[in-house]
């Protein structure tokens, strides 16, 4: 033996690269491959990819919207006017104060095929030669726009959406009649720059020049015509001052002004809604993934207790232990984060590839560094939060257990500095989530909900352990084993309950969302719906129209109501620009609304406040209003709304409030005037008609043959279009939510895998003692059924609450509780958990007894 040195310095040796030594040990452990870390890596990849994907896609949509804003608006500024359009003075001002001014007009009309007797509703659009001001048209076959629309030998040209060709059996080169005008189809519209792809429309597009538009004879008093004046500003001119000058020139004008910020608000709403939903998906994947990470690390370290104890016997300090396994976990986490960033960063490209035609605006495929940085930080913080405690506990594993061959993991809190570090990382994660989201309301609720849920599951786990410990000792050894597995020291009951709970909550949430979305689709088809709406019936055509309906066998007039257009100007005397109201009423406040009048309440009306006026009412203007809108506007009986109807302001007092079921397909108006206010204004009529299948085509043909200006909307077509739209939305929701389902299943698998080693040992010992396979599997099944069933109850509550929140606040739809979906999902989730473990235990039963005992 070498002589003892003169002075023995027992101070720990520092400055010799403790991290280098720890890295050396970590590298040796990592050589063994990813055994025990597959689920860890998968959870990190999924969580980071979700956040990175959500962020990149949102940025890509915003960039796409910004790049296409001018093309989508079709102008620097657009002024929308209904009915008769701008006055001569207004038009002159617009023309004199812009570099270029074009007029675009839109109207619903009927198009009749000359080669067959077919006809269909179209969205007729009239344009000026300078259209489009921004963006580019794509026609098939390719040709200049002017060539497509020019008049040749008296025949005007038109562009149509491809769907129109199939609908009425025509091709390019055929002629159709619109109103009084014969038009030749010169090409199909592949891309219309100012039209949102996939948006809901009643009919295919038919585009002509404004001259041709006028020649159709469909521009009549009261027609539901929309004028859009599109302005390209002069060089150096900016929007705000220009709009202010316009407002000063024509105060109180009955128009709406749109600039680039307002380009296609429906698209912005779509991007917004999508962003909220995807943010929730990303955060859910991250939280669920975090639970999976915690399980995986705890499980891995519990398998390393002997190694850690051995290292301590050999002189490794707690810090060496911590650093070694911190580095191991850290390196794998960084690799997982890198993979997640690559996958997430590619999301915009994947979205374009998969859903190009269904997207209202194409996301701009590019590299967006900020969302990736944020996702990486999320990944690092999540890893730190969910691994610090297991790592901190590992450093305190008692090495003395090696002398008893029973090294047990440490329970209880780790040293305070690790508790504080975890709390700090958690605070940073929450702060980052709140700082980087645009949807603070939803993020806050999600974080609160997630925290409460996880704590609730932890409490349930403790209750299960306490309850099981207090049970009278069962006589059956298998049952006793099952119950004692819940309470034994070091049992990962809390981890398993939180994993099962988190996973089942996600599955229940997605299941309820799915059934509610499906219900949205199926509920669009009411039991009784009219066959047609006929719109743009002129007042002098009403009598003849009703006679045709009456004379058509199998046809029945359900409703006919006058229809005027007006724009809300004042709420209780305050202009709508300054009034405060619930944003959900924006659709009513902004833009033109349909108005009608009636002496008697329409059939099926439900008055919930106030009273309907007498049939011979002759008092000041009065209205009956939709009760929901009244609530959202913060008004009630006795308050006033002022509408601008064709330049005339009418202030009406609210005399009654009605509940309106907008899902019913019937002629409904949010605002009904009492007699006396609107009769003299230019108006058209809208009628709902029921027709037997035999009478349907005949009625359609007869009415549209007699009245070129009356458009027929087949409700069946509308329902199909809406159903298709909802199906696409439901598919997108399911696809996005599948990320969380995958995360949930991974965590379930991880929770089951966590106990695998112990199950192998138990199985082997029981086998040695004479237990059959059924006995062994029975113990496991009982244990996990107890855990799963109790946890499933709480998960059902959590999932139900989450699905309500998403359906009501994010999708702004109705929510219905479906007990069957919840029960089936919860039971299936528990069954999957038990099956996964069953498979593992069955495998364990196949292990060679002596090889296991020798290892132990």
């Amino acid at each position: 033996m070498s002589a003892l040195p003169a002075n023995i310095n027992l101070v720990p040796e520092i400055g010799r690269g403790p991290w280098r030594m720890a890295w050396r040990f970590a590298r040796r452990e990592l050589r063994g491959g990813l055994n025990g870390f597959r689920i860890f890596m998968a959870c990190i990849v999924l969580g980071v990819a979700s956040i990175a994907g959500v962020g990149s896609l949102a940025e890509a949509f915003r960039a796409g919207l910004a790049e296409n804003a001018r093309a989508l608006l079709g102008a620097d500024v657009e002024i929308r006017v209904a009915a008769h359009g701008a006055t001569d003075d207004q038009f002159a001002w617009l023309r004199d104060n812009s570099e270029t001014l074009i007029t675009v007009r839109e109207l619903r009309a009927m198009a009749y095929a000359d080669t067959s007797d077919e006809r269909t509703l179209v969205e007729l659009k009239g344009i000026d030669p300078a259209y489009p001001l921004y963006g580019a048209m794509t026609l098939a076959p390719t040709m200049p726009l002017s060539k497509a629309l020019e008049t040749r030998e008296g025949l005007a040209g038109a562009l149509v959406e491809k769907t129109l060709l199939a609908r009425i059996g025509v091709t390019v080169g055929d002629t159709v009649r619109v109103g009084d005008k014969q038009i030749e189809i010169r090409a199909t519209l592949v891309r219309e720059p100012d039209r949102v792809a996939g948006a809901f429309t009643l009919g295919p597009r038919l585009m002509v020049t404004n001259e041709t538009f006028d020649a159709t004879g469909l521009v009549r008093l009261g027609s539901m015509l929309r004028h859009k004046y599109r302005v390209r500003l002069a060089a150096g001119e900016t929007v705000r001052p220009w709009v202010e000058r316009l407002g000063a020139a024509f105060p109180g004008a009955a128009w709406r002004i749109y600039d680039l910020d307002d380009a296609q608000p429906s698209v912005k709403r779509f991007v917004n809604r999508l962003g909220i939903f995807l943010t929730l998906v990303g955060l859910t994947a991250l939280v669920i993934g975090g639970v999976g990470i915690a399980n995986a690390v705890a499980s891995y370290l519990s398998g390393r207790t002997e190694t850690i104890a051995t290292l301590k016997c050999l002189g490794a300090t707690s810090d060496v232990i911590f650093r070694t396994y911190f580095l191991e976990v850290g390196v794998l986490a960084l690799i997982g984060i890198a993979v997640g960033l690559v996958l997430g960063g590619g999301t915009p490209a994947v979205a374009v590839w998969l859903a190009r035609d269904a997207l209202p605006v194409l996301p701009l495929v590019s590299f967006y560094p900020m969302p990736l940085i944020v996702a990486a930080v999320f990944g690092i913080l999540t890893t730190v939060i969910f691994t610090l405690w297991p790592l901190a506990r590992a450093r305190d594993i008692p090495a003395a257990g090696l002398f008893r061959d029973i090294v047990s993991p440490i329970r209880g809190l780790p040293p305070i500095r690790y508790v504080l570090a975890t709390a700090l990382a958690l605070a940073m994660l929450v702060g980052l989530a709140l700082l980087t989201t645009e949807y603070l309301f939803f993020a806050r609720w999600f974080i609160a909900g997630a925290a409460v849920s996880l704590v609730a599951f932890w409490i349930v786990a403790k209750l299960i352990v306490t309850g099981a410990a207090r049970l009278k000792r069962p006589k059956s050894p298998i049952l006793r084993l099952a119950v004692s597995n819940l309470t034994r020291p070091g049992a990962p009951t809390a981890g398993i309950v939180m994993s099962i709970g988190a996973s089942l909550s996600v599955l229940v949430t997605v299941a309820l969302l799915d059934t509610n979305l499906s219900r949205q689709i199926s509920d669009r088809i009411p039991d009784r719906a009219p066959t047609f709406f006929f719109i743009d019936i002129q007042s002098d055509q009403v009598a003849a129209f009703e006679r045709i309906v009456a004379e058509t066998s199998g046809a029945e007039l359900l409703q006919r109501m006058p229809n005027l257009r007006g724009r809300l100007a004042l709420i209780n005397g305050i202009s709508v620009e300054e009034a405060k109201f619930d944003p959900r009423a924006s659709w009513f406040v902004n833009g033109e609304r349909g108005l009608t009048y009636a002496a008697a309440p329409p059939e099926g009306v439900e008055i919930v406040a106030g009273a309907w006026w007498p049939e011979d009412y002759s008092g000041p203007p009065a209205i009956s209003l939709d009760a929901h809108i009244a609530e959202e506007l913060g008004i009630g009986i006795g308050d006033t709304l002022t509408f601008n109807v064709l330049g005339r302001r009418i202030t009406a007092e609210i005399l009654s409030l009605r509940t309106i079921d907008w899902s019913r397909i019937r002629v409904e108006f949010a605002t009904i005037f009492a007699p006396g206010a609107l009769e003299g204004a230019p108006q058209t009529h809208v009628a709902a008609i029921n027709a037997s299948p035999e009478a349907e085509d005949a009625l359609h043909r007869t009415v549209t043959d007699h009245f070129a200006n009356i458009s027929a909307v087949r409700i069946r077509d509308v329902i199909e279009t809406l159903t298709d739209m909802f199906r696409r939305i439901a598919t997108a929701v399911r696809a996005s939510a599948s990320v969380t389902v995958v995360a949930g299943l991974l965590v379930l698998a991880g929770a089951v895998a966590a106990g695998y080693r112990r199950r192998v040992y138990d199985a082997v010992i029981l086998k040695v003692l004479g237990a059959t396979r059924i006995n062994v599997i029975g113990a496991f099944v009982i244990e996990y059924t107890i855990l799963g069933s109790i946890t499933a109850l709480l998960a059902a509550v959590v999932g139900t609450a989450a699905s309500y929140g998403v359906m009501y606040f994010v999708m702004e739809g109705d929510w219905v509780f479906d007990p069957i979906a919840v029960t089936v999902t919860a039971v299936a989730g528990v069954a999957v958990t038990v099956l996964l473990g069953f498979a593992g235990t069955w495998k364990a039963l196949g292990e060679n007894v002596m090889s296991v005992l020798r290892t132990e």
Binding site: M1, L4, V11, P12, E29, G32, L314, P398, A399
Partner: protein
């Protein structure tokens, strides 16, 4: 951080290598207190080999763990190589073990993710020794495993694993070797080889040895044997024989 301890060598050279004074160890359990060690008094001189025998549950392994600084005593004093344990933190004890104690277990307890060479190198690396790998290779050669350097524990037989464990225990030339039934998991022939090897290296290094064994033949090879029963050292075995009890 523990304070550096300056030792007076002259005193250190006279002190026993291991000194246990009235050591008690009581553990709490759900069933109540369990007295594992009930007043152990033991002094082992430098270079001495002491065998520990006794029935199962007598506290032999616990006494070894206390000596290694892996278990804290409830009362009493433990001094090894002139260092009193009660002044040291857990990390301080770990640091002390690096330089002064080698442990051989019945179950070998090699690190499965490391090769034989790396297993032996660990205590050298922990001690910050630069040529740890070379020294480890030399250690394995000394136990006739030069051709097994890159083998993992799972690829070694029981005897080979224990030889690796021996090489690891002696790698830093510790003053004290603690062995807990090192042949318990081996067949007789292999066990004898291991014991021979252990005593050979011990003699070469002049290490102090505290060895738990059930094998009387192994115990006889020690300088003396103590008998542990129910947490107490009863009369040393050779004295019991001499007294005819």
């Amino acid at each position: 951080m523990p304070e550096p301890v300056e030792l007076d060598l002259s005193v250190a050279q006279l002190e026993p290598m291991v000194l246990l004074e009235d050591v008690h160890l009581t553990l709490e359990s759900r069933a109540g207190e369990v007295n594992i060690l009930r007043g152990i008094d033991l002094a082992i001189e430098k270079g001495e080999s002491v065998g520990v025998v006794g029935p199962s549950g007598s506290g032999k392994s616990t006494m070894l763990a206390v000596t290694a600084g892996l278990e804290r005593t409830s009362t009493g004093r433990v001094v090894v190589a002139g260092t009193a344990y009660d002044g040291l933190t857990e990390d301080g004890l770990a640091l002390f073990r690096r330089h002064h104690i080698g442990i051989v277990f019945q179950a070998f307890h090699l690190i499965p993710a490391m090769t034989a060479l790396e297993n032996v190198a660990v205590p050298l690396e922990l001690s910050g020794i630069e040529d740890a790998i070379e020294r480890a290779a030399a250690g394995l050669s000394a136990v006739a495993l030069a051709d097994r350097l890159d083998h993992y524990p799972a690829q070694l037989s029981g005897g080979e694993q224990q030889r690796v464990a021996l090489a690891r225990a002696f790698a830093t030339e510790p003053a004290l070797i603690l062995a807990d039934e090192p042949t318990g998991n081996l067949d007789m022939a292999t066990g004898r080889q291991i014991i021979d090897l252990m005593f050979e290296i011990r003699a070469h290094e002049n290490s102090t040895l505290l060895l738990i064994t059930h094998d009387p033949a192994v115990a006889d090879r020690c300088d003396r044997v103590i008998h542990l029963n129910d947490g107490r050292i009863t009369i040393p075995a050779d004295e019991a024989v001499a007294a005819g009890t």
